[in-house]
Amino acid sequence: MPDIKKKRKKVKNTDDIIFLDHVSKEYDDGTGAPALNDVSVRIGPGEFVFIVGDSGSGKSTLIKLLLRELTATEGTVNVLGYNLNKIRHRMIPKFRRKIGIVFQDFRLLKDRNVYENVAFAQRIIQVPSKEMKKNVPAVLASVGLAGKYKVRTKSLSGGEQQRVAIARALVNEPTLLLCDEPTGNLDPVNTREIMKLLNDINQAGTTVVVVTHNRDIVNEMQKRVITLKKGVIISDEEEGAYIDED
């Protein structure tokens, strides 16, 4: 096992949307095995990147580091110019507002309707009500939910709920969209539609990072693919494909 505490030369790049420099993450669970081990990666503006790997490969840990839910044991995590190793607690909300986040299980506020879920993201950044009333219907229309803004989210299909989550992630016009298994709970038809939507968002200029283990969509879309295995990047290819580890 490589020594994760070894001192390394730090590299700076302020243009990168995501810049991981020799990042390692160890949990205090007694196993001693790092969840991420010496990971370095750069993702630039406007890129569409898949992060793939089997269970236990470190994908979830990576997403948590990018959201500053966790901090790296070693190395530097820089996202949107924020050094997440040094960011102050009170600055974390401000940082997260610049990121759109989409989860596998949608994570919508279940007791609120579609409009309220999307508007919530705007309320957080204190957008005036007048503007909110323009922005929310516009973003809902862009994800194909124009007529559903009064519907309770729990009565929507899985695909529709994921669209609401994407609309919520997009409404504040983030520079970076992080998607953690966005199609994990969807059928193939909805999976394709959501991936097309994410591609459209990327075409409009947003950097999109999708963590997935769905080999079909990865192979179909021909985007940059970073493959993780046991916490280590084993490949990073432009127009890559899902690597079968067996």
Partner: protein, 298 residues
């Protein structure tokens, strides 16, 4: 903070109550039940203390004077006694009043044979105490006055009341403290459970960039509202119950309640309202504040 955010938090606090009806009802019911019980104990305690105090006020010390003490000197001593902290009030009984009273009580028509007042030397003060536990210090003072011939005191009665008063105080305090702890435990548990089930909602808010204040404020508002309602309901119930129960008892057991009176409901409420609201709103606020904080570390 924008003013719109402030009103948004208030609005969301109210909405949360209706969104989570079962939790809100459970919290309000727990709080109402606990504060009602506490209120009942406070009512009983206050009335018991009042009854003891009323009985204490009937305990008096009698002071007699040496023969030949001038009326002026007796009046001056009376003024001095009246100014003492142990004394509630004094009644002066002249020799004639003492004889009249004796005749009426014991002699009746047989008193005609007396041409002179046999109690000519029995003018005295009946001294009523503000606190029976201070009787001995008053007696010591009275005995130190040269013109005082004799001091009559009912030491046993005074000691009994003094002890009983302390006993009532300790028992009441003990019961109130225990009930208070149970109340705090039950209410804070209900609030904690109610908010913990919404941990995911808090996480979502944090993930999309809500500040701790923005996440916490509606829950704190919710806690305060539940606390206020949970404190108000038992007060309303106690108000009407107290009036009806005291009326019923006074009518039904008039013999007993000739000697003591229940405290008026407004006196009881003056004590209960701040206690109840302080506990209800205090626990509602603190419970939600602390519980939400646990889930903010995302």
């Amino acid at each position: 903070m924008r003013i719109s955010t402030f009103f948004y938090s208030i609005r969301q606090g109210f909405r949360n109550i209706f969104r989570n009806k079962s939790f809100s009802l459970a919290s309000i019911a727990t709080m109402t039940a606990c504060l009602f019980m506490l209120g009942v104990v406070v009512c009983i305690t206050l009335n018991a203390q009042e009854a003891v105090k009323t009985a204490e006020q009937g305990v008096s010390v009698t002071v007699y004077f040496n023969e030949g003490t001038s009326d002026e000197r007796i009046a001056a001593i009376g003024d001095d006694i009246g100014r003492r902290v142990e004394v509630s009030h004094t009644d002066f009984i002249s020799a004639d009043q003492a004889w009249d009273s004796f005749k009426t009580e014991y002699l009746g028509e047989f008193s005609d044979g007396f041409t002179e007042n046999p109690l000519a030397n029995s003018m005295h003060y009946e001294i009523y105490l503000s606190d029976v536990s201070m009787q001995s210090s008053l007696v010591t003072y009275l005995q130190s006055i040269p013109e005082v011939r004799k001091v009559n005191q009912s030491k046993v009665v005074a000691d009994f009341f003094s002890g009983f008063d302390s006993l009532v105080g300790y028992i009441s305090l003990g019961m109130i403290v225990i009930l208070l702890l149970v109340t705090i435990f039950l209410i804070s548990n209900t609030v904690t459970v109610g908010i913990s089930v919404r941990k995911e909602e808090i996480n979502i808010m944090k993930y999309i960039g809500a500040t701790d204040f923005f996440v916490r404020a509606p829950y704190v508002v919710e806690g305060i509202i539940i606390g206020a309602v949970g404190a108000g309901l038992p007060l309303i119930a106690l108000y009407y119950l107290y009036i009806n129960v005291t009326e019923f008892l006074t009518a039904k057991f008039s013999v007993i309640f000739n000697f003591m009176e229940f405290l008026p409901v407004d006196v009881i409420m003056k004590q209960l309202i701040p206690i109840s609201f302080a506990i209800g709103i205090g626990i509602g606020f603190l419970g939600s504040f602390v519980t939400v904080r646990k889930h903010l570390k995302v």
